[in-house]
Symmetry: C2
Subunit: 133 residues, 2 copies
DNA sequence: CCTTGACCTTCCCGTGACTGGAAGCCCTAT
DNA sequence: ATAGGGCTTCCAGTCACGGGAAGGTCAAGG
């Protein structure tokens, strides 16, 4: 299977697949003409990677997950550990964004949004230290 | 004022301040010895930038906001527009993260996390189509 | 046989917003 | 005179790719 076909089936850009080879996530064979020749197993791995990335796992997390996926003697605790750490990061990020959202929504609501120069948003940015509750 | 002092007062690393000069957000004077010499106005701008960045505005947004801040003939509508667009991006990001969180939390809960290899997280990544509701 | 066009290859640069580090100048205190 | 701290510039790295150039390969059509 050439890269174009595998890209379609995995739902990933060819560029991304080459990149994944570069960083050692997959190791496709090569045909006589130098083209990459992907096996079914390569395709499975790429799909796996696509799904993991779409859940926000970092490439390094994906590397670990892939290794566990291929290790039939793994402990599910190791997988769960990676997922829990990632979940914690997601929660932290959500909290951070919601704090921003909170402040920003207040400011937007307070701003007249007309052709006059007075603007509570700029006023806040110019003075704010934190709590805009 | 040297960069170290202004960094303390603005709450930004010196590196960041040099970077902001590089990209044209500020233009501090230079002392005879080649050191940057920051005015009170420079400090105000840096604080403004720090606050805007902490609300998640991009550098380009900050550039626009700073220009409006300095333009006494601005229309508050222009400021509000930038803020609303940013707010929409934040909301989109939050929604994306919450979708990830939703799926991931389910998977984590379903995983035994013991020393056995069976793992619904890996099973999901290996097959997942999307909706893990 | 030749050409066309769609593939494929590698390589290098750019992204955003910095951060780290090297090499070297400046200033003050001892 | 030397030690230290702070300042300068410049280069490289981060993360996960994406864009695009230069060139090789393959199948189909004239």
């Amino acid at each position: 299977m050439n890269i174009g076909d595998v890209a379609k089936h995995a739902g990933l850009p060819a560029k991304t697949i080459r990149y994944y080879e570069d960083i050692g996530l997959i190791e496709p064979n090569r045909s006589a003409n130098g083209y990459r020749d992907f096996s079914d197993n390569d395709l499975h791995k790429l799909r796996f990677l696509g799904h993991a990335r779409s859940l926000g796992f970092s490439i390094e997390d994906c590397r670990g997950l892939l290794a566990l996926y291929e290790d039939k003697d793994r402990a599910s605790a190791d997988v769960k550990h990676i997922a829990e750490e990632h979940l914690a990061k997601i929660d932290a990020k959500i909290a951070e964004l919601q704090a921003m959202r909170h402040t920003l929504a207040h400011l937007v609501k307070a701003c007249a949004g007309d052709d006059r120069p007075d603007c509570p948003i700029l006023a806040d940015l110019a003075t704010a230290r934190s709590d805009t509750s």
